[in-house]
């Protein structure tokens, strides 16, 4: 039987159905092995689909055989493929590396539940990406959010609880705003299928409800995506979550919300609302610029490693939104490439953090001094990913910055300002990354409370370290051979801009 046409459905169904079964696997090694196998399978499905998408194929799948627009439709194009790779890749590699870190942070009897929540979060995020139905996106968004609340609160740090409560409140408000927006669009068009919506929305004459809907959807998703200044839930949630969870969510959590935001605004509203493009751009561009500058500046003075990296994520989200707000093919493909490359860089950084956490309970920078002596491989991987975050040539981060600056130069207005902002924030990235490097390599080890002596090499467990290095090398690999993300993202840009005159 040829499974290829069913891949979009399997992509969601496999992790979702496996999740409750994992709970039944009591011996913890088995639970981990099962969850890893499922996550890997889902990664393989994503790769298989990406290969087809690269050849120009677009997957569509009618759930239960009911034809769209009445049935629920799944679809995978170039844009979705990027996100699928990121989500399932982060989920699978994270799972592969997670064992040691999870052993350290989660009690034995709760581990199967943890793995199951991980798969649910993955299934939810994947579901958002493959759905072609506005309401389905909402449901998957809530599935992934509920699972990630559970994951974040699962660690031993009690400060995670108030953080996750804040996240829950803000996340639910964001999702509900999205729901209101979808309701208003449904009221005017009578359909929930995105492709159908695109067509029917042209016939709508009363534009005010649509305008309100666009506002609700944009704000709601910006909340979920932690676009500045709606990002306040993010640094705390990332800081106090278990390390592997931080890595998973930092790599793909907010990016999926941006994906929906871009999709909705470009495909549905762009063609229907006159002047929407300018409204979208002039609303998001200042926020993106502010986010980039303010969050980078805050990160420079942050003293806790995880919070520093989390704050830097807010700035990086700013880059993605900035690229989209250019409303040009170059800007959008820079944006989508950055989704991919930032996932690599930040995922690698948080993996390295998880390695460090194996021996350093306290992740404040002052406590990590001289860690490069005890964990040389971890520190080296962290430096590579840090360079990618800065955008040093030869790393993945450079590619997306290059594309973004080129796109900014092609803008008619403010191009000099935009380039200046991107460069300024790169310099601030140098500053905050170098604070980490300096502490790890040259910090004085006098007042550090690591468990055990500081001058013996005590590396993180091998699987964790190997995955960290895999990601670090991927940062270099995609810095020299970026054809994959670039061809996908230019495909995505042409899909999104197809509607524009």
């Amino acid at each position: 039987m040829d499974l290829t046409p069913h891949l979009p459905a399997l992509q969601v169904v496999v992790p979702m159905l496996a999740a409750p079964l994992i709970v039944l696997l009591k011996p913890r090694g088995l639970a981990w092995a099962g969850a890893t196998a499922v996550a890997m399978l889902s990664f393989c499905i994503a790769i298989a689909m990406t290969i087809d998408v690269l050849q120009g194929k677009v997957f569509t799948y009618q759930m239960g055989g009911w034809a769209a627009p009445y049935g629920i439709e799944l679809s995978v194009d170039a844009f979705s493929a990027v996100l699928l790779l990121v989500v399932s890749g982060a989920g699978a590699l994270g799972m592969l590396a997670a064992h040691a870190s999870v052993d350290q942070q989660i009690e034995l009897e709760r581990q199967p539940l943890f793995y199951s929540a991980w798969l649910l979060a993955m299934a939810g995020l994947i579901g958002i990406v493959v759905s072609a139905d506005a309401f389905n996106i909402f449901v998957f968004m809530e599935i992934s959010s509920l699972a990630s609340y559970v994951l974040i609160a699962g660690g031993p740090d009690r400060r995670a609880l108030p953080s996750v409560f804040k996240y829950l409140i803000m996340g639910t408000i964001g999702a509900t705003f999205y729901l209101i927006g979808v309701g208003l669009v449904y009221m005017m068009t009578g359909t929930l299928n995105l492709a159908d919506m695109e067509v029917r929305i042209q016939e709508v004459t009363e534009l005010n409800p649509l305008l309100v809907a666009a506002g609700f959807i944009t704000i709601g998703l910006a909340l979920k995506a932690a676009v500045f200044p709606l990002h306040v839930w993010l640094p705390n949630a990332y800081t106090h979550a278990p390390h592997m969870v931080t890595m998973f969510l930092a790599a793909c959590g907010t990016k999926v919300a941006i994906y929906v935001l871009i999709r909705f605004d470009f495909l549905v509203f762009q063609s229907a609302l006159p002047g929407h493009s300018t409204q979208f751009a002039s609303f998001l561009m200042p926020l993106a610029i502010l986010g980039i500058v303010v969050a980078s500046a805050v990160a420079v003075f942050e003293g806790h490693l995880k919070r520093l990296l989390g704050t830097s994520s807010v700035a990086q989200i700013g880059y993605i939104v900035l690229g989209a707000s250019f409303l040009s093919a170059a800007g959008l493909s820079a944006s989508v490439t950055h989704i991919f490359n930032h996932a690599l860089a930040k995922g690698g950084l948080f993996l390295a953090v998880a390695c460090l956490a194996c021996h350093y309970r306290d992740l404040r920078l002052s406590q990590l001094a001289g860690a490069a002596k005890t964990m040389p491989w971890t520190a080296a991987a962290l430096v590579i990913c840090g360079l990618s975050l800065i955008g040093v040539p030869g790393t993945a981060g450079f590619i997306s910055k290059w594309l973004l600056i080129n796109a900014a130069m092609a803008q008619d207005n403010y191009s000099v300002l935009l380039v200046a902002v991107i460069l300024l924030s790169s310099l601030m990235a140098v500053a905050y990354v170098w604070r980490i490097v300096e502490t790890l390599y040259f910090g004085s080890t006098d007042n550090v409370a690591a468990d055990g002596a500081t001058d013996i090499i005590r590396e993180a467990p091998l699987p964790l370290l190997l995955v960290t290095w895999l990601v670090a090398l991927a940062n270099i690999g995609f810095g020299f051979f970026p054809q994959l993300p670039i061809s996908l993202s230019s495909g995505a840009a042409s899909v999104l801009l197809g509607q524009l005159p």
Binding site: Y149, A153, L168, T172
Partner: protein, 116 residues
């Protein structure tokens, strides 16, 4: 009387704002969750009331019945799902509040902030 014809939307907006206000202004975490529930219920109301077609009846098609105007059933189905989502969010929120109470001994936000 066009304005009054939209009274269901007024109810929706008022409820939405009451909920949002409670979420923002209340310090007690349980009260925040209550606000969140009101906020979500307002949206359910919007969906449910919008499917009403004037003179429409329940969309049950029976053999032998004359052609009739039916109300739209789809939003009701959607909102059933949304209610399930809302209930699970609420219960997860309450579970977190319980754990906060266990580890901090309080559910007042300002006291929790002071504790760390």
């Amino acid at each position: 009387m066009e304005l009054l014809g939209y009274f269901n939307y007024f109810v929706f907006v008022v409820l939405l704002m009451i909920g949002l206000y409670a979420v923002i202004s209340k310090v007690n975490l349980v009260k925040k969750l209550i606000g969140l529930s009101i906020f979500q219920s307002a949206v359910f109301l919007m969906y449910i009331t919008m499917d009403k077609v004037e003179g429409g009846t329940a969309p049950i098609i029976l053999a032998g019945m004359p052609e009739q105007i039916y109300s739209n059933p789809l939003p009701q189905v959607l909102i059933l799902t949304a209610i399930v989502v809302g209930v699970s969010t609420l219960s997860l929120g309450l579970a977190i509040v319980v754990r906060i109470n266990e580890s901090y001994g309080t559910i007042e936000e300002d006291e929790i902030l002071d504790a760390d």
